[in-house]
Symmetry: C2
Subunit: 671 residues, 2 copies
């Protein structure tokens, strides 16, 4: 029977070997956290290596993602479908073992981590999802949702602001089944952290309302067991276990930043193994140690027991069970076509001018009652951004009833928590803030996009239309820059119908996050025929056409669309053939086949103009070198929104004037 230290050393040996072979990687953290991993994964972590998608598995997040080899070693050793060949292929093209853990590439990796702090923040979202799902599906007889969420993190994670935002909420939400193991090794890349990380972490987390355990010796299995038991026993408070460890444990570079981000080197690698008493050849695991780690049998039994429980649950509550399966599969409800039709019909009934943020709230009034998986919220702007509906109920942190979260003024934490909700499964998170403050959450949005999560951002106050609040609150570069994030849809609808279509798209795109860019100010409803309503789903379409080949293609989005239409009417009256193209989602339009794109924007027409109250840098792709863009060259100002629109040139008159100049430059004559 191998000792616990022997088992931990198997992680260390694999980490050393893989990093040496890759000539790249971070040995310090796997060496330091190996005993913590042994304590967690061999003593109570509920999982089934054969089925990483088992709904009731415990969740594990490696927030300090550079320790990836620790996780890969554990997954390999416990019996996940991660072969030694993959371990040997660490950090190489096409391997299942990338430099930082990436969801989707590796069985058992719950989340893409690397940007520090976001792992623990998303773990908060996972733990919340578990609690809410349990409230919605468990019955007095059947606890079909009953698992825990664990995260490992290092000093870097706790320095990052997102740790503050999310961990404060974890306590506010009483997430007693969340346990964070803090690898307190006292070293970060720049050296001993005392000079820049001297806070009393335990006191800080106690201030949030966490259960703070330790410091314990992070290399002492029994101490770690006791700490984990203590954490599990407290079901009211999230737990922080402070584990004092040595970075690079066992190596000559122990306790030094030198062990953090580069291979140990052959000599130090050998010395480390010798000191650890590890005698097996590289990439070899002695049979007894492999057997001690093997969690397949226990995992199979665990899941089978749960399956039996779920069968009984299904027999007793067939509808609940079917709904649970649907929710966890991320499928929209069976009546989605009807819901979606109702959504569109309601929007088409709108006739009075309305802000698209209000149109979005009206869409949510249809969607929230129909989709119990929707969990909404706002970064302290619920009324302004229209995320709270009549069917929204604030989270009750005793019963976990509710479908609405007050995130407070914490955009980044909100984004990371939404990622966690989506990762856990069973929920489609949406939340709102002012678009200018999407900046604060930008890296969480990027992680949603990398992971392909259905996370929906309601970003209102989307231009200088914000008005008096001024430059800091007026997005200028946010719309075009969000469009540049790969695998992110940015919808900027112009009225109720396009807003409804945007919501429909956001919900239907199961592997793509969506940002809805919505106006603060009222916008007119624009008439459309059936074909046009359908065409919205194409991202860009002809909203107002002319007879014959257009002389001018006039593109716009959101609040500027009606200006384009108005200008086209005038230009038409003056004898020009002008086509107005509404482009609510350029990314979706770009993904259409060439025939559609050509039918909307014929390549022969080079006299092109775009109108958008945002930085213009996105539009040259559509207007080319010979076109014209009416956009924002600098930041906004403080004044009533209507004054700003006038002053910055977003009027139908100015569009007409600039269009006439452009037509003249192109030598186009009126008929």
């Amino acid at each position: 029977m191998p000792s616990r230290r022997d088992c931990a050393n198997a992680i260390r040996a694999l980490a050393i070997d893989a990093i040496e072979k890759a000539k790249s990687g971070h040995p310090g953290a796997p060496l330091g956290m190996a005993d913590m991993a042994e304590a967690l994964w061999r003593h109570g972590f509920r999982h089934n290596p054969a089925n990483p998608a088992w709904a009731d598995r415990d969740r594990f997040v490696l927030s300090n993602g550079h320790a990836s080899m620790l996780l890969y070693a554990v997954l390999h050793l416990t019996g996940y479908d991660l072969s030694m060949a993959e371990i040997k292929n660490f950090r190489q093209w096409g391997s299942a073992t990338p430099g930082h853990p990436e969801r989707g590439l590796t069985p058992g990796v719950e989340m893409t981590t690397g940007p520090l702090g976001q792992g623990i923040a998303s773990a908060v979202g996972m733990a919340l999802a578990e609690a809410m799902l349990a409230a919605q599906f468990n019955t007095p007889e059947f606890a079909i949702v009953d698992h825990r969420t664990y995260a490992f993190c290092g000093e870097g994670c706790l320095m990052e602001g997102v740790s503050h935002e999310a961990c404060a909420l974890a306590a506010a939400w009483n997430l007693g089944k969340l346990t964070v193991l803090f690898d307190a090794n006292g070293v970060s890349i720049d050296g001993k952290v005392d000079a820049w990380f001297c806070e009393d972490v335990g006191q800080r987390y106690a201030a949030y309302g966490w259960q703070v355990i330790g410091p314990v010796d992070g290399h002492d299995g029994a101490a770690l067991d006791a700490a984990l038991a203590e954490a599990r026993a407290d079901t009211e408070r999230p737990a922080l276990i402070i584990c004092r460890t040595h970075i690079g444990f066992g190596s000559p570079k122990k306790d030094s930043a030198a062990s953090h981000g580069a291979p140990l080197g052959a000599d130090a690698a050998e010395a480390t193994k010798r000191d650890l008493g590890w005698t097996a050849a590289p990439f070899e695991i002695p049979e007894d140690i492999r057997a001690a780690w093997d969690a397949r049998e226990e995992g199979r039994a665990r899941e089978e027991a749960w399956n039996a429980l779920f069968d009984a649950y299904r027999a007793a509550h067939p509808e609940l069970a079917a709904e649970f399966v649907r929710r966890m599969a991320g499928e929209l409800p069976a009546d989605w076509p009807e819901v979606s039709a109702r959504l569109m019909a309601q929007a088409r009934g709108a006739d009075a001018p309305e802000a698209t943020r209000v149109a979005s709230r009206k869409a949510l009034e249809v969607l929230v009652p129909a989709l119990p998986e929707l969990v909404g919220g706002s970064a302290d702007l619920s009324g302004s951004v229209g995320t709270q509906t009549r069917a929204s109920m604030a989270l009750d942190t005793a019963s976990y009833a509710g479908n609405y979260l007050y995130y407070g003024v914490r955009e980044f934490g909100m984004g990371a928590i939404m990622n966690g909700l989506a990762l856990h499964g069973g929920f489609i998170p949406y939340a709102g803030t002012f678009m200018a403050f999407s900046d604060q959450a930008r890296n969480a949005l990027r992680l949603s996009s990398i992971m392909g999560l259905r996370v929906i951002w309601v970003l209102t106050h989307d231009s200088i239309g914000v008005g008096e609040d001024g430059a800091t609150h007026q997005p200028v570069e946010q719309i075009p820059t969000l469009r540049m994030v790969p695998n992110l849809h940015v919808w900027r609808p112009c009225d109720d119908v396009e807003t409804a279509a945007a919501w429909r798209s956001a919900l239907q795109c199961a592997a793509t996050p969506t940002c809805l860019a919505l106006s603060r100010q009222k916008l007119p409803q624009i008439p459309r025929d059936e074909a046009q309503v359908e065409a919205i789903a194409r991202g860009g379409y002809v909203l107002r056409d002319c007879a014959g080949e257009p002389q001018l293609l006039l593109m716009a989005t959101g609040s500027e669309t009606s200006l384009a239409v108005e200008a086209a009417v005038t230009l038409n009256a003056r004898g020009y053939r002008v086509r107005v193209v509404s482009m609510p989602c350029a990314e979706v339009f770009d993904a259409q086949d060439e025939a559609w794109r050509e039918s909307v924007l014929p390549s022969s027409v080079r006299c092109r103009m775009a109108v958008e109250a945002a930085a213009p840098g996105w539009w040259p792709a559509y207007v080319g070198l010979d076109g014209e863009i009416i956009g924002m060259k600098g930041f906004g100002m403080s004044a009533p929104g209507s004054v700003l629109f006038e002053r910055f040139g977003f009027t139908a008159d100015n569009v007409v004037e600039r269009a006439l100049d452009l037509l003249a430059r192109h030598g186009v004559k009126a008929r």
Copy 2:
């Protein structure tokens, strides 16, 4: 003699009147914090209303910027050049009283605030600047730098993660002359904060190592005086004074979120004034109250005393005094032309391939010893990003000697603190992190741009060239999206010479922040003649030309520039006339006169191609509808950088192949 409450009520009355007249604004916070403002500004705040630029003034930051009318009222009442006409023009086009305070628009406003949390974070930078400047210029006889930094903040500021990052550093740096007054009114926009902000703020700040004072009654002048005295007495620790207040004090909407973000309305406004006992007409201040507030005489005397001190200092230490004046004026040293020439000469001497992050470190080896105003740092990546030079000395938090800051893993806090250093004056801050993590600091960068601050970001690891660390660490959209921030320069140099020119530009642009996008991997040095070296300063220039009018314009930046040159050599050999344009800073290029731009990119040449290992959305502005972009369509992957360059098509061969296709599409024939 009016009472202190009467004086505070003058703020309240002006806030009510201005917000009612504007029909827009945030009355709750000015009503709630008026007594705090009275206590601070009438009892010990050292300033001279006649000279908002007085070097040794106390600094004040309104972190909860929506309370702007509080600050405008105080500035008006104490005697700054802010007339009642401006107060009446609150939130209107062209006024000096925008919705949120904006530096540069209003005398006495130190900083643009509005995005919550960043005010206190930048106040940390200001306090640090004071301490470092004092260390550098004060002598045993002359304390010419001796002022304090104050900030007001609300719950929202303390929920934001940036408050965590910056305030942890404030304690690590022992910033005893920083005092934050926390307006603890228990209400944020979504209502009573208990459900989402239940942390023990005092305990949290004590955990950082702050002096925590209170809670005190934020409407009790004497209690506030005592708290401020206590804060001033402790010179080792930054102080947080927890002030319990009532949002909307005096109004029928007291203690309610309803008072936060909308005018009270005529009836409630009247009722409020009645209850406060305020009988003056709108926008009128009784003479005795005006006299009680008037700080002009005292301010004049204060500055005169300081001027006398400074005269004596100048007499005793003429060189130090001249240097102090230069530093506070933000002028580069007299020998800057020589330093700059040395910088360029060193770079031109480089011949071996080198990463531009190393080129940047070499530039800093010249600059840091020559420019004592440079204060460097890194978000825990000093070695990787090359910000620490031989002349860099870590901050000594006892003596405040040093010119280098270990910010820890806190990109956002770092950005906000750099803003504070720049705002204070006397310093040019620069700091580094991996470019992917510029996301976290994005709103701080935006504020630098809005305020026009000389803040320099060293953003290394600027593409998939990062290699094995994988998608989370590989910028894709960051380069083009940073370019879209107005008034921000993004330099992406291709070798040592362009890197030196980028640094030169960053230092010379006193009202523009700069991002340097630098490679992790080695890049070849590209030969240039004198004219080309000079032309770098134009942002874009012809790096390799052909005889006669070019058939193809091939543009590139950074690590892809040498690929473009190599491809051009091949294409040239095949009989095509190809011009290579290096575009290290598109924003600077765009600002050149048309003659220059036309000379580099002749509008007649439509066969154009751009190569950049980033999201391609920026380049259509230069290649148009008929061009070609070799860029990144999605996120990167984990593999050695050279493998990624190959797999994603960033090779000279692929450039040649795609260029031949493009030339064929344009019907261009080789000679």
